[in-house]
Symmetry: C2
Subunit: 303 residues, 2 copies
């Protein structure tokens, strides 16, 4: 909105030093000096008297700095007004995020080419108390969209779905476990040796995709399956501490520093879709948001 060199001039006037001003603005000193010099030469004015021990504004320069401050202030106000004007009447898209469902991939896509007409607001989701199903069932009330792994056929009646990638089930392994250094895991690798059974935590049977993995793992004598009700942060903490393995997904890479996700060579594809869940009857701005994300991800959105 305004010439960036004004920042350099103002900082130099306030600090009385090109070096100090350059540090404040996080640029090198010669770069800032050049900004000031080119500015002065471009407009044929002298703002600063230089000396070996700093710089001081000229009499006229001091008044100029005041004017420059005014320009900067007004410019900021103008763009703030502009933003406000554009946003009045159009409510934001409230995107739910949490440690277990950080919408990182979605936000990466969004900030690559955001549509300025749509404002995205991040709202916190609990990872523990409220089951994710409840949140999804009430999309459009407090939260408009969530990014998660899901089975599309499960939600077609409840909400809209925008799958943007495939999310194969993998295994979260503690860094102390030699398995964590394998590039991939086969089922044989999971079978316990020497009488010790490998403990694997897995969602208890409830008709979802995880049941396929459970069927495959139950055939292994050296595997002890430990049922879990739902995923939460405490589950990751426990697995990190006990060394138990955990059925995981790529979207949870890096959730716990002690656990690494290792791909598993399942005999047949075992995985879910990853993408956005949004209200079955979305508001216009939500629909626009979903469509833009779909376009950026290179997929078509489904009603």
């Amino acid at each position: 909105m305004y010439d960036r060199r004004l920042d350099a001039l103002i900082a130099a006037a306030e600090t009385g030093s090109f070096a100090a001003a350059s540090r404040r603005l996080h640029v090198s000193t010669p770069a800032l000096v050049k900004q000031v010099n080119t500015f002065e030469r471009e407009y044929g004015i002298t703002v600063f008297d230089r000396s070996r021990s700093g710089v001081t504004p000229t009499a006229a320069g001091a008044e100029f700095i005041e004017d420059a401050r005014s320009i900067v202030r007004q410019s900021n106000e103008i763009i703030a007004r502009m933003r406000r004007r554009a946003h009045t009447g159009t409510p934001p898209v409230r995107l739910g995020i949490s440690m277990l469902r950080p919408a990182r991939r979605i936000l990466d896509l969004w900030q690559r080419e955001a549509d300025p007409r749509i404002r995205v607001e991040l709202v916190s989701m609990p990872d523990d108390e409220v089951p994710i199903d409840d949140i999804i069932a009430h999309l459009g009330e407090d939260i408009d969209a969530v990014a998660t792994a899901f089975a599309p056929e499960h939600w077609t009646e409840v909400c809209g779905t925008l799958p943007i990638s495939y999310e194969p089930l993998c295994m979260a392994v503690s860094r102390g476990n030699p398995l964590s250094r394998r590039p991939r895991l086969r089922l044989d690798d999971l079978d316990g040796r020497d009488g010790t059974r490998t403990r694997i935590r897995i969602l208890r049977r409830c008709g979802g995709t995880d049941d396929i993995a459970r069927d495959l793992l139950e055939r292994l004598a050296g595997v002890e399956l430990v049922d879990i009700d739902h995923y939460d942060l405490n589950l990751f903490n426990e697995c990190a501490e006990t060394g138990d393995l955990l059925i995981s997904k790529p979207m949870w890479d890096g959730v716990h520093p002690q656990l690494v996700n290792v791909p598993v060579d399942w005999p047949r594809p075992v995985g879910m879709r990853y993408g956005l869940l949004y209200p079955a009857d979305p508001e216009p701005q939500i629909r626009a948001f979903v469509e833009r994300i779909g376009a950026l991800a290179g997929v078509a959105s489904e009603p």
Copy 2:
């Protein structure tokens, strides 16, 4: 002072077309479009609605354009004020210029690195009526400095001199004359053949440098010297029309489109100095101007 992209935004709003705006601002259409796009994305706002047949400002965009106009107006006023403040109290340096004494070399040096504290004002000098000597004798009254060829020893008592280059006498030849295509001329080349004598116009003997050239040329039987009192535009016109040669100097390159200056291999150096003449007791700003020009030309100024 302000972001140059504002000009693009305003022009686009006024013309209703990126293409028309680009023509007004003398840039290519894609360049202007990119300016608008990067601006909008940088601040996350939408100023224009695009269509295949032009662009129209958004409701909020139209108000933004008004604000932008205000910023541009204020910025211009601020730098104008700054200039006025800096100049009050310091009178300008009045540099005399005319067709025969265009201070081109001086102005090139000056605009390469002008001192913003010194304001240079160009004032017109007559080439015909008033002899240059009168102007030089009155330096500091209406005109503070002139750029011309001169013999330093002639003026040491009258005014200050700043020689910045050597100006060898050369020959102005009409383009129709085969001599005009020679890279250099020897005295033999000037000697007339077949009974026709080469007419050469030269300053009448008055104790100056030109007398040396006159001495050399008078020995040539095939040369007819035609005396002139002083140099003026009409003299160049006459030589162009009659085909007479004219003792000239490099500083007059391009004064008359029909005449070209060709260097002459004089048996011994025949030339003058080129530079600035200024008052013997110059005002501070004049002294500063002369010193700056001397520094830019790489010579030391002489009192």
